[in-house]
């Protein structure tokens, strides 16, 4: 198992791309029920959105409830690009798969950058503040974006924006989802991520330790917004139709409940939450009218009984990593290593829980 790290990562990346591409054929070839594949792809988009929101809400502890606004920025900017330039760009590049891949890549990039910039504009003033104000400012931002979109004739205003190239690509959707997961995972497990977590645990202490909290918060916020923008890009090209109404507060709330359900600060939790909240309503179609009532009740009950979410801060990857490390350390002591790993993970889990308990249970300042 001695292989340079980059080579191993490259191989993994290639395998993932290959598998996704293969699956794409399955889905395009109508081997799968279109309804089922639609739900699957919507789950993929939801994963991108949830994991990106978790970076700011779960790992940095800043409460943003305007995720739909950033999504909208990404969706509309990329849609505008695709409609105005995307097709011609693809044509110039030969019009084949490659041409479209480039055009879509460019659209994704544009959507992400635009949303990131919006995140910067919102984040710089509001993240300097402490407390709950970010929640209100992001909520207000979400409202303002909708107001603006309703008034921009170039993207259809209130009539909605149609004629966007439709790309129901399993490959594209899950590639972005996986990239988002990997980016967030790597951030969280880096020095940057530890700085973010320190801000979540105790902002004052973090500052005292020399962490430039505002800068880190803004960076995390911008990255999170950019990824939300990428999620918006996927959505824009999914049905080929956008309407400002789709990006109102309720959308932000749905993403929020995904990550809270899964556990603030757990990537696996966000993924599960995203899938659950996309699939569950389909399974319970008969109760559609009561869906939001059930969600809000669920949220309250969850906050009372288990404020850290279903998974809390546990990560599946963590256990996997620990096992790998144990394996490489001593091949011979595999059995004992396995045992200690188990204990370790149990310990870690309880410790994590205890930590989360203290952090969430801290008394109010003042």
């Amino acid at each position: 198992m001695l292989m340079p790290r980059y080579l191993r990562n490259l191989i993994i990346a290639l395998v993932v791309i290959g598998v996704l591409y293969g699956l794409d054929f399955v889905f395009q070839g109508r081997m799968m029920n279109p309804y089922f594949s639609r739900i699957l792809m919507l789950s993929g988009i939801a994963i991108t959105l949830a994991v990106s929101l978790n970076l700011i809400n779960g790992f940095t502890g800043q409460f943003s409830i305007g995720h739909a606004g950033f999504m909208a920025v990404g969706a509309y900017s990329s849609a505008y690009f695709s409609v105005s330039y995307g097709a011609s760009l693809a044509e110039t590049l030969g019009g084949g798969t490659l041409g479209w891949a480039v055009a879509l890549g460019a659209a994704t990039l544009i959507g992400a950058v635009a949303a990131g910039l919006a995140g910067l504009v919102v984040g710089v003033p509001s993240l300097r503040l402490k407390g709950d104000y970010l929640a209100i400012v992001t909520l207000g931002f979400g409202q303002i974006i909708v107001v603006f979109l309703n008034n921009i004739e170039a993207v259809g205003g209130a009539r909605g924006y149609s004629g966007i190239p439709i790309v129901k690509s399993f490959f594209w959707i899950f590639l972005i989802a996986i990239v988002t997961i990997v980016v967030v995972y790597n951030i969280v497990n880096s020095a940057f991520g530890r700085a973010l977590i320190s801000i979540r645990e105790d902002e004052l202490a973090a500052e005292a330790m020399g962490v430039n909290t505002t800068r880190y918060k803004v960076m995390a916020f911008v990255i999170s917004s950019a990824m939300a923008g990428a999620g918006g890009v996927l959505l824009a090209h999914f049905d080929g139709y956008l309407n400002p109404k789709s990006f109102e507060f309720i959308k932000s709330f749905e993403i929020l409940i995904m990550i809270i359900l899964g556990g603030l600060g757990s990537i696996v939790g966000s993924i599960l939450g995203a899938i659950l909240l996309t699939v569950l309503p389909e399974a319970l179609r008969g109760f559609a009218q009561y869906r939001m009532v059930i969600y809000s009740l669920l949220l309250i009950i969850l906050m009372i009984t288990r404020p850290q979410g279903l998974l809390g801060k546990t990560e599946a990857f963590k256990g996997w990593r620990a096992r790998r490390r144990a394996k490489t350390r001593t091949e011979t002591e595999e059995i004992t290593a396995e045992d200690t790993r188990d204990q370790e993970s149990v310990e870690k889990a309880t410790l994590g829980e205890r930590q989360s308990e203290t952090s969430l249970g801290e008394e109010k300042p003042r």
């Binding site: 003033p125 209100i136 409202q143 303002i144 809000s296 009372i304 249970g361």
Partner: protein, 322 residues
């Protein structure tokens, strides 16, 4: 000039609504440091309670007079003479709605906020959002999603002023009641024993507990008072603008919150001032710039105030906070 005067009047009467809702917001925040997102929705419930109460009274009166419910619906329940619309009726409806919402506030506090009080403020905030959404969506199921039309509880008059401007009598009543409630609230907080306890809880929950204050009771009282204020606002606003629906509290609630922050959150006269300022600014933007960005005004103000004077206009002396 007369247009400007009229716009100013429009602004003040719109601002009075924001003030009225902001009062409850600011009080709960002052005591608990919790943005009670559900406040706007309690306001909505208050309006609906007023609606059902008024209709309940009206329908019974109508049946006594031998009129069909159908004919009433077309004509407006109280307006058709089933029950004499008067200030007394309005007051009775308002007080009953206030009582119901006070109970609702206590229930919300007991079953949603109290259990999470031991956790972080973030948990409390999420719970508040959950309660808010529960009321909105539950409202859609229970009251129905379609807007309802609030009966005219008392005859509204248009009062002509100098220079061609005019003001509706309902606007004056809203403004006067908002002022009265502000003064009353100020008296409760600063002149009564309970008020002193509220201030103590606000200052430090733990110490207050050590001093023998029943903090749970004080907090419950704060919620009851805040929710009653929201209900009063709901009924008054519904009298002035007679269309109510389960989602009516969202935007107004948010703007009222901004008003509370503008005035200095936790500061009672500040909420009044903030509400009026936001109402006038919004109206002026609509009247002289563009109505399109009306809803953006409040949030732009919020960002500016948070950047340059986070404690709000009147919130400089922290001891004055409730």
């Amino acid at each position: 000039m007369s247009t400007f005067l009229q716009q100013l009047i429009n602004g003040v009467s719109l601002g009075a609504i924001y003030s009225l809702i902001a009062l409850g917001y600011t009080m709960v925040y002052g005591v608990l440091k919790l943005i009670n997102f559900a406040h706007g929705d309690v306001y909505m419930v208050g309006a609906f309670m007023g609606y059902y109460l008024a209709n309940g009274l009206g329908v019974r009166g109508a049946q006594a007079l031998g009129m069909s419910a159908d004919g009433l619906l077309a004509r407006g329940l109280l307006g058709s003479g089933a029950m004499e619309p008067s200030l007394i009726t309005a007051l009775a409806v308002m007080l009953l709605a206030m009582a119901i919402c006070a109970a609702l506030g206590v229930i919300i506090e007991r079953f949603a906020y109290r259990p999470v009080r031991k956790y972080s403020r973030l948990t409390a905030l999420i719970t508040a959002i959950g309660v808010s959404l529960l009321l909105e969506n539950g409202g859609q199921v229970v009251f129905g999603a379609d807007p309802k039309f609030f009966p005219e509880l008392f005859k509204k008059r248009n009062i002509e002023l100098f220079g061609g401007a005019s003001i509706n009598s309902a606007d004056i009543i809203v403004l006067v009641i908002a002022l009265a409630l502000m003064i009353g609230l100020q008296l409760v907080v600063f002149r009564t024993k309970t008020g002193r306890a509220m201030r103590a809880v606000s200052f430090n929950l733990q110490s207050a507990k050590l001093m023998g204050i029943n903090t749970d009771r004080i907090i419950a009282f704060t919620f009851a008072l805040g929710s009653a204020l929201a209900a009063a606002a709901g009924v008054l606003v519904a009298i002035r603008i007679p269309r109510i629906d389960p989602l009516m509290g969202i935007l107004v609630g948010l703007k009222a919150f901004v008003a509370a922050v503008l005035g200095g959150i936790g500061n009672i006269p500040g909420a009044m001032l903030g509400g009026l300022l936001i109402g006038v600014t919004e109206t002026m933007v609509v009247g002289y710039l563009s109505p399109t960005y009306k809803d953006a005004v409040a949030f732009a103000i919020l960002i500016l105030i948070l950047l340059f004077r986070p404690s709000g206009l009147l919130g400089s002396v922290s001891q004055e906070k409730v």
